[in-house]
């Protein structure tokens, strides 16, 4: 019984894109390391690489939770910006410690996310438009508030603990004589905590399962007694909360809270979940896949940077990777199910039904 369940789980794992991602990451790291031994330099290459993987994994999770209800969140970057703004302002202007300022920022972003979710659930407008309009509104608001609340358009006052999280490595953590490696930054801890929390939410809680059901078929969910409107709002609020955490991580790692935080998040937020097997249509998520997808793009980025490839080429490459990943997923889906694409199918079934009806008559 349990062994058959185990083998089924193993089969499902093999069919997902995750093993392929792991192989790709290992192969790429191998290639980069042999061609450029500097790629394995702990404090100068591996540590920054892990830092950016940690930050963008949380960004990817923020997108993943809205994708799970079949929506998208184009305001991920701006919600991260609002979170960082509120945190920075409360650290500098109110002088509060880390454990008060950070939840304040997370709350602000979560409320804004919930507001977007509420508009979507209440009016039924496409999530794309609501979050796009939201992102432009916030894009206008954030620099204005930085100008008003801060000196020199940035908050640089940091309470105790921010630098340790943002810039520290495991070398700073010692148990007696044994210290950690300086290649692993402490910032992976909040990322791992977010991953664990989100995984637990979707895998083990009733509300998490209800969010997934809402994503895979809103009507069925509604008829089964799931309060779909509230689940949509929850997903968007959670997205805002995670975005704020990612904004904090970026600010802590760069050393200041600026209006630029979140500006680069949008494409990356889609890359991670989509490469990792999260469906755009909703209902399927993969926390580990998101982290692996982000890791793959980060490794490619870092490796090509070492070869002196310019930023513009990297952008072109990331766009192509996104398209290629989706196209291969599509091809695999077609071969796995051997089913014609949807519109054709609906027309064909309709014709068949018409024929049946006529036969009965």
């Amino acid at each position: 019984m349990s062994s058959s369940r185990l083998s089924r789980a193993a089969h499902a794992e093999l069919r997902s894109p995750r093993p392929l991602l792991v192989v790709l990451i290992i192969v790429l790291v191998g290639i980069f390391a042999t061609l450029k031994p500097a790629f394995l330099n702990g404090p100068f290459v591996i540590a920054p690489l892990l830092t950016s993987i940690s930050i963008f994994t949380v960004v990817g999770l923020a997108q993943m939770v809205v994708l799970s209800v079949g929506h998208m969140n184009l305001a991920v970057g701006q919600l991260a910006g609002v979170g960082a703004l509120v945190m920075g302002a409360s650290f500098e202007n109110l002088g509060v410690p880390l454990l008060i300022g950070m939840p304040l920022g997370m709350l602000a972003s979560a409320l804004l996310g919930a507001f977007a979710g509420w508009i979507i659930a209440r009016t039924g407008v496409n999530s794309f438009i609501v979050t796009l309009a939201m992102s432009f509104t916030l894009m206008g608001l954030i620099p204005t508030l930085y100008e008003r609340w801060s000196v020199g358009n940035a908050f640089t006052v940091k309470p105790a603990g921010v630098d340790a999280i943002g810039r520290g490595t495991f070398r700073d953590l010692c148990f007696g004589q044994v210290c950690g490696s300086n290649a692993i930054p402490l910032i992976i801890l909040p990322a791992l905590a977010c991953m664990a929390a989100i995984w637990y939410f979707y895998a083990c809680t009733r509300v998490g399962r209800e969010v997934l059901v809402t994503g895979s078929n809103p009507r069925t969910a509604e008829l089964s007694g799931v309060p779909t409107g509230r689940r949509v709002i929850l997903a968007h609020a959670l997205s805002g909360l995670l975005a704020a955490v990612s904004g904090f991580m970026l600010a802590a790692s760069t050393g200041s809270f600026t209006p630029a935080i979140g500006g680069e998040f949008m494409l990356a937020s889609f890359l991670g979940p989509i490469l990792g097997g999260t469906l755009l249509a909703g209902g399927v998520v993969s926390v580990v896949g998101t982290a692996l997808g982000i890791t793959l793009t980060a490794v490619i980025r870092k490796g090509l940077e070492l070869f002196g490839v310019g930023l513009e080429t990297l952008n072109v490459l990331l766009g192509i990777i996104l398209l290629a990943a989706l196209a291969t997923g599509r091809i695999r889906g077609v071969f796995a199910r051997r089913r014609p694409p949807k519109p054709v199918e609906s027309a064909a079934t309709l014709a068949a039904e018409l024929q049946d009806a006529e036969g009965v008559r």
Partner: protein
């Protein structure tokens, strides 16, 4: 005729008149001076064109996140072929239209060929094209001195109205005629309104999607041509701020987000309203960011209000229907 003078269009005309009057009052009439009017219309062409470009994709139930990137690449490629390859300025500048159409065609073929969500295809495409645009011009600006004839066209005006704006209005009329009169235009609308019904009627959905993206790219190319003609030069910033206005104009103008409708006049009027907000920013001394804030909030409000009205109308209709049924039932019983 009733479709043209809809409540939404009347409201937009009212907003334009009141807005212009307010700006006129705030500047003691200077806003209506010849220089000010000419520059108002000169900067209105691009928002109208990109609004129409977005409208065409919205009409078949798609969207185009790459409007800015297509326009930027088209403009920069024209600049490069004029300066580096020695192509005659007019041919070079007008080739932006062809470049735009080809890039739009590529978008459409990718959407149809891979069956990936159009949102993701155009997002990835915009990322790729922004890279290409940077690759073309880098950090430099190609000055308009390389195409003096085209720049003179961009600065010319007929009775105070810029020639480029008149050209833009002609393009808008052509788009309106395309959707109202041509078979292809009606097919686009039909497939956006109800894909399976259109398919049963013998319309190829794939073909309409490809056509819509191609026209969208073509209109972005025209916007790029206008940018080449009136901007001091082309660089990587061309197209960078087109995304919000491209959605704002059709949405405020009354185009449905699920497809099946177009509103050319509404889009033109809404672009004018957005331009008024833009023109107000130096007069009332607020930043470009505030313009974004206002426009974003207006889009959000329009969408939410429109949808709420639809829901209420549906509810009222169903109440009416049930009342009628009850009355009929009572009649049968007596």
């Amino acid at each position: 005729m009733r479709r043209v003078i809809s409540a939404n269009n009347l409201l937009l005309v009212g907003v334009v008149v009141v807005g212009a009057a307010l700006l006129g009052a705030a500047t003691a009439g200077q806003f209506f001076g010849p220089v000010s009017v000419t520059s108002f219309f000169r900067f209105l062409s691009v928002p109208i064109l990109i609004g129409l470009a977005q409208m065409v994709t919205l009409c078949v139930g798609q969207l185009n996140l790459a409007v800015g990137a297509i326009g930027g690449v088209s403009a920069c490629l024209s600049g490069v072929i004029i300066t580096s390859w020695g192509v005659p300025p007019w041919i070079g500048a007008l080739s932006a239209v062809v470049t735009g159409a080809i890039l739009g065609l590529a978008n459409g073929l990718l959407v149809v060929g891979t069956r990936i969500n159009g949102f993701i295809v155009t997002l990835a495409m915009s990322q790729i094209l922004i890279g290409v645009q940077y690759g073309l011009v880098g950090t430099t600006t190609i000055s308009r001195e390389a195409w003096p004839e085209v720049a003179a066209f961009g600065r010319s005006d007929i009775a105070g109205i810029p020639t480029t704006f008149i050209m833009t209005l002609l393009v808008a009329v052509a788009v309106a005629l395309f959707f109202a009169q041509s078979v292809t235009g009606r097919r686009l609308l039909a497939s956006g309104g109800n894909a399976s019904a259109a398919q049963l009627a013998g319309i190829s959905i794939d073909r309409t999607i490809v056509i819509a993206h191609t026209i969208s790219g073509l209109l972005c190319g025209i916007a790029a041509f206008v940018s080449i003609s009136f901007l001091p030069g082309v660089n990587t910033t061309v197209g960078g701020d087109w995304l919000l206005p491209s959605f704002a104009a059709p949405i405020i103008g009354g185009v449905s987000l699920v497809g099946g409708t177009v509103a050319v006049l509404g889009t033109v009027l809404a672009a004018t309203v957005v331009r008024l907000v833009d023109a107000a920013s130096p007069i009332y001394r607020f930043d470009a960011e505030v313009v974004n804030f206002v426009v974003g909030a207006v889009v959000l409000g329009t969408v939410a209000l429109g949808r709420l009205r639809e829901v209420q109308e549906a509810r009222r209709a169903s109440v009416l229907r049930s009342r009628r049924a009850e009355a009929a039932l009572a009649e049968v019983r007596t």
